[in-house]
Amino acid sequence: MAFSAIDRTAKQIVLTVQEYSLFSGRALLNLFRPPIYWTDFLIQSDVIGFGSVPIVILSGFFTGGVLALQSSATLSAFGAAAVTGQFVSITMIRELGAVLTGIMVSGRNASSIASELGSMVVTEQIDAMRALGVDPLRKLVTPRIFASIVMLLLLTIVADAFGIAGGAAVTVFLNHQNGTQYFHQAYEHLRYPDIVQGLVKPLFFGYILGSIGCFYGMRTTGGTEGVGRSTIQAVVISSVLIIFVDFLITHALLSIFAG
């Protein structure tokens, strides 16, 4: 009994992974085949990108501040409080800027994408679109995934900048250290590999949050209750995947740049 349940669950997981791979792969390939719905891409960029700016600024700023508070306390013990700027900037740019933005934007947009598309599925709007001769994958999914990728890259840069600014605010106003020294340290020790790491990750995270949101939205069943279920699955799975993929990318990029 237990074995058959495990067997069924395992098959279900494999089937879901297969369906997701085909779905997201087809959606991505649509970028290279007309018709491409550029207007929908711009609308989604506004919703996903501009709409997420406040939460990205706030989370970036306060994360940078917390990093400065925590690191300066520890670094002071070794007489190295002066390198707080270096610590904050490298941590934000290499890691936290991309991951935090990915998770924050995923919470906001993977959920909204899944619920919007899920509602369209249960009210037969997706079927209506197909019946009208329009491919929902091209019209709804591809623009959302593409907009998520592009916008997450830009939002990560915003988060990095405000994280460093938050660290500077704490360093100057709470720790009463020199601001020029903070920014000098933050800039001086940055290397291109750090920036590459920080800008490659959001491309993957944007793809994950856009495609997972669309995938769970488009396979919604079970009416309004199903929409809620899809929304939860989209947020949970995209957040976990972002952290998991972050680990893989970090490992791969460190190996590349170490070599």
């Binding site: 709007q125 679109m129 019946a131 001769g133």
Partner: protein, 279 residues
């Protein structure tokens, strides 16, 4: 039959002999559980209106969606507008579907768009100039008597108005086949009558072949014993004893097709389920 044929001048006499617009041959559809459709075979001839009867949950909507490939069959063969769509890739189906009109059960209008953009959805995708779109949308809305809703959002419309806008959306592209999925379900009798009048109008003015799903017998019978009078601009009853010869019936029971024939054959059917349904 020959007597009644005189009331449907738009339909060629050889309609039933021409290549069918829709053809089902032993079609079965199943999801996770038992089959929803079992070995269903029928066809829709050019100019023909087929009324699909049956109680709720027997697979009427599934059958309608299978016609345009929104649901794929496990067995059998489906032909739409002369093309075998049974295993046709989704991408090839889109241009074929664009030649048909589908009125969904609750209208399935796009909530975030205005009535104008809903009705013009296909035209907008085809990048038709705005002036042409406005003119054609207005014409379609006039057909359903809703030109005043042009700039409204679909969420501001009543249930009956949503169905009429959905009909306008289905008709704007001059489809070669129209599918109506319970267009009067859940509506009051007056609004239902308005919807049926539109369907009769489309049938008699444009002779577009169609398939209508319903479980309301009064709607089905109204289609048979009424015609659209262009002079009066409304639906009028046919003379006593006459029926529209191009309106025929199908009935589903538990996923299987148990009846395929004319109104006369339907009312005289010996089938126990048909008799029970009619009574």
């Amino acid at each position: 039959m020959t007597h009644a044929a005189s009331v449907a001048p738009h339909v060629p006499a050889s309609a039933s002999e021409a290549r069918p617009v829709v053809s089902f041959n032993g079609v079965s559809v199943a999801f996770d559980g038992p089959p929803v459709l079992k070995e269903v075979s029928f066809s829709v001839a050019p100019g023909e209106t087929r009324v699909l009867l049956g109680p709720a949950g027997v697979g009427k909507s599934v059958l309608l969606k299978t016609i345009v490939g929104l649901i794929r069959p496990q067995n059998g063969r489906v032909e739409l507008l002369g093309n075998d769509i049974t295993h046709m890739p989704e991408e090839n189906l889109f241009p074929l579907r664009a030649r048909t009109g589908f009125v969904f059960q609750e209208g399935a209008l796009f909530d975030s768009l205005t009535v104008r953009d809903n009705v013009a959805y296909q035209l907008i995708q085809e990048r038709v100039p705005d002036d042409d779109i406005d003119a054609r949308v207005m014409e379609a809305l006039k057909f359903v008597g809703l030109e005043q809703t042009f700039n409204l959002y679909s969420s501001a419309l009543s249930g009956g108005m949503r169905r009429r806008v959905a009909i306008a959306r289905a008709l704007i592209h001059q489809p070669e086949l129209i599918l109506y999925d319970s267009p009067t379900g859940g509506l009051d009798p007056v609004t239902s009558n308005t919807i049926i009048e539109l369907i009769v109008k489309q049938r008699d003015v444009h002779a577009t072949p169609s398939m209508l799903v319903t479980h309301r017998l009064q709607d089905a019978f109204a289609l048979c014993d009424h015609r659209f009078d262009p002079e009066q601009g409304c639906m009028v009853p046919l003379p006593k004893g006459q029926i529209n010869p191009n309106t025929t019936f199908l009935m589903l029971e538990d996923g299987g097709l148990i009846f395929d024939g004319s109104l006369e054959e339907l009312v005289h059917s010996e089938n126990h389920f048909v008799r029970e349904f009619l009574e």
